[in-house]
């Protein structure tokens, strides 16, 4: 099973590289936010897979939960921030 978990984590890393392309080259800022959000949600899965691989899931599951929380708050704040293309003048 450890072999399967390693291959699965490597496949997720390949998908994260593909999402990183959208994060770097997205035509609008919202495409970049989308790419980074996808990388964040895949990172939580990879953390859990690493926990299974090392047979200490109890250490890693809290890290994954924190990562999900921070990813959600980050995406939400970035999209609120970029509604007007950045900070409005006078605020």
């Amino acid at each position: 099973m450890t072999t399967f978990f390693s291959v699965f984590a490597l496949a997720l890393f390949a998908l994260m590289l593909a999402d990183l392309y959208r994060g770097v080259a997205g035509p609008t800022i919202f495409d970049r936010i989308l790419g980074m959000g996808l990388i964040g949600s895949k990172t939580a899965i990879v953390i859990l897979i690493i926990g299974l691989h090392y047979d200490h899931l109890d250490f890693f599951v809290d890290c994954a939960l924190t990562y999900c929380l921070l990813n959600f708050v980050g995406v939400l704040m970035a999209s609120k921030y970029f509604i007007h293309g950045g900070l409005e003048e006078g605020n």
Partner: protein
């Protein structure tokens, strides 16, 4: 144990299929609203399947005890949390894109890169201006 391994492999592999679908959609679709469609649904379902696979493996290999059931419930908690927050974050992002004035992709849109860059692009641009 073999049954738990098979269920885990099936869940993780089907989750990976949906994650690949989300990534292909994000890479190939033309504008940010269609990319939101691909990412919002496929990424949610793929992550759910992966988390359920991890939860089944953790419960099945540790045996039924207080610690393993707590671990199982924590992983399920992450899955439910992601099920709520992933579509919410996508909706908030592209609602912000709509408020920022980004227009959806249209076939005769002269700002779309494929029409602007193709060899007969100037002609297409003229006809687009006549119709609009």
């Amino acid at each position: 144990m073999i049954v738990v391994d098979v269920i885990t492999i099936i869940l993780l592999s089907s989750g990976l299929v949906f994650l690949v679908g989300a990534t292909v959609g994000v890479l190939r679709l033309p504008d940010c609203y269609t990319r939101a469609h691909a990412a919002g649904m496929c990424d949610s379902l793929g992550a759910q399947l992966c988390f359920f696979g991890v939860a089944v493996y953790a419960l099945g290999h540790a045996g039924i005890s207080g610690a393993s059931v707590t671990l199982f419930l924590k992983v399920i908690l992450i899955a439910v949390f992601l099920l709520v927050t992933s579509p919410t974050a996508g909706h908030a992002t592209f609602r912000a894109a709509h408020e920022a004035g980004i227009r959806p992709w249209m076939k005769k849109d002269d700002r779309a890169p494929r029409h602007a860059e193709r060899p007969g692009g100037e002609k297409a641009k003229d006809s687009g201006e006549k119709t609009s």
